[in-house]
């Protein structure tokens, strides 16, 4: 029961915040709403008993990415009336709604083979095993490390003043 209440509240907050992100004119407030959206997604993770992921979501998305975005906003101008739609606004709305309808239709009509097993708790050790253990995802981990290194170098190269 508690989980359901939590889900509905978090879902409403997440959708409202996401709508605010794409509709607010003030970019700074949009970024704040993005933070709210991220926090709700972290809450949804908790509802899905992925507590480690929730903490990581807060740490990376809220603590780092959102703040990076805000810093980037500060470095540009026209913050207060910066978010304007382009010419494609109405076609995009139409196609997005169409996409949403198809996706919802697909979700509802698909017969999901839901398992009845209880979720693994706590997830931390299990995740570690999955990532680093035998038959796990060690190669993607290494690749993502290379990706991050490339990101760091790329960002430095892009931002360096000549």
């Amino acid at each position: 029961m508690g989980l359901e209440i939590a889900f509905w509240i978090l879902a409403v907050v997440a959708i409202t915040a996401a709508l605010a992100v794409v509709s607010l004119r003030n970019i700074f407030r949009a970024a704040l709403c993005l933070i709210l959206c991220f926090l709700s997604i972290a809450g949804i993770f908790v509802v899905l008993s992925a507590d480690f992921l929730a903490a990581v979501q807060v740490l990376i998305n809220v603590g780092a990415i959102a703040i990076l975005i805000i810093l980037a906003i500060m470095l540009t101008r026209e913050v207060e009336r910066g978010s304007l739609p382009n010419k494609l606004q109405f076609p995009v709305i139409a196609s997005t709604v169409l996409f949403l309808c198809i996706a919802v239709f697909a979700v509802i009509r698909t017969p999901w083979q839901v398992s009845d097993l209880p979720p693994v708790e706590p997830t931390t050790a299990e995740l570690a095993n999955k990532l680093f253990g035998e038959g796990g995802f060690i190669l993607p981990v290494e690749i993502s490390a290379v990706l991050l290194l490339a990101t760091i170098i790329g960002a430095i190269v892009l931002m360096r003043e000549k």
Binding site: F28, L32, A55, V58, L59, V62, I67, I70
Partner: protein
């Protein structure tokens, strides 16, 4: 503290009662301790500067924070005319709530905590990174260049210092083998400050920067940017920021106690008393540092973390993980001496390569 709580309230027997009782206890504890800390810091600073400090209100000036509270409460609440008003109103709350939330996982003694999360320390790191959003909101919505500069500095500093901070925590987590704070405390037959001296040093310096205290208080460097992000705030909203800063000092003292000083563990005295004694000791050291070291320049602060703390934290993590993986049953005395030796050697070697604020860096 268990005697204060009805037995059926304890986790996980009665979830809601436990939550309620501990929330009340934590908030009361934080407010009282913050008031004590304000008085304590002023007295200690006074004594270090060979004066008395506040000594008029109440015995030994103990009621001075109360007088300050009354004064702050009766001040006029000013909102900048061209500021972003809703954000301005929300900022103190957004800044204060994460600091309160951090306390949820800190064990006062065995089992005496709000929630014993199995990812406790990760939760703390995650939540503490949210506090800077409130500060940024305050800086932006004040529509004042000084507050914005202060907020930008705060965010840059926070993001940078979080990395060595998290890396030094990882050393502790590796040794303890758990992210849960209760288990970390229980793993400390020897306080981790002895096993992880370098990690402790990095964590201490990093947390000084994290809570914007001297010598890293560039966020509110009076001589440069007047008062930093809270320049436009007055009255209760300003007091909330002030409360946030001291609550953060309290929380970080508690975290240092938990991670490195053995938490509630100690002979003779009851565990929660040990916990409080250790917290006050850590806070005294923070005040002592404040009384001694002058403020750094912003480029020095950034250079210090990226060029000094981060490499050392990485090396510390590497050495710790090698030890945990290949020689887990090493004798304690050997680890202690090796740790001290490695710390001194690393700091001396690194300072040969590293120049603090030699060249001017534009940040």
């Amino acid at each position: 503290m268990p005697e204060l709580i009805p037995q059926e309230a304890l986790w996980p027997g009665n979830f809601w009662l436990h939550l309620l009782v501990f929330t009340v206890i934590i908030i009361t504890f934080i407010l009282l301790t913050v008031m004590f800390f304000i008085w304590f810091e002023r007295r200690l600073l006074g004594r270090i500067q060979v004066r008395l400090g506040p000594n008029r209100a109440g015995p030994f000036g103990l009621l001075q924070p109360l007088a300050d509270v009354i004064k702050v409460l009766t001040k006029e609440d000013i909102v900048p005319a061209r500021g972003d008003k809703p954000v301005f109103w929300l900022a103190p709350i957004v800044a204060f709530v994460p600091v309160l939330m951090m306390f949820a996982v800190i064990p006062f003694q065995d089992g005496a905590l709000l929630v014993d999360l199995n990812i406790g320390i990760l939760y703390i790191v995650a939540v503490s990174s949210m506090a800077s959003i409130g500060i940024f909101m305050a800086g932006w919505s004040s529509n004042n260049k000084y507050s914005l500069i202060g907020a930008m500095r705060d965010v840059a500093q926070l993001v940078s210092y979080e990395i060595p901070l998290a890396l030094s925590i990882l050393g502790v987590v590796l040794i303890a083998g758990s992210l849960s704070l209760t288990e970390i405390v229980e793993a400390q037959t020897v306080p981790f400050i002895l096993l992880q001296p370098l990690g402790f040093l990095i964590f201490f310096i990093g947390s000084l920067a994290e809570m914007n205290r001297t010598p890293f208080d560039l966020v509110e460097a009076d001589s440069e940017i007047v008062a930093g992000y809270n320049i436009e705030y007055s009255g209760m909203k300003w007091a909330t920021f002030f409360l946030m800063e001291y609550a953060e000092a309290l929380t970080i003292s508690a975290i240092i106690t938990t991670l490195f000083l053995g938490g509630w563990r100690g002979p003779l005295l009851p565990p929660f008393l040990w916990f409080i004694i250790k917290v006050v000791t850590v806070f005294s050291v923070i005040v002592w540092v404040r009384a001694t070291i002058p403020r750094l320049r912003i480029d020095q602060v950034m250079a210090f973390t990226w060029k000094f703390l981060l490499p050392l934290a990485l090396i510390n993590l590497l050495i710790t993980s090698l030890q945990v993986v290949f020689w887990p049953e090493a004798p304690v005395w050997l680890i202690v001496f090796a740790g001290l030796f490695i710390m001194i050697a690393l700091i001396l070697i690194w300072s040969k390569f590293f120049k603090l604020g030699g060249d001017r860096i534009d940040v």
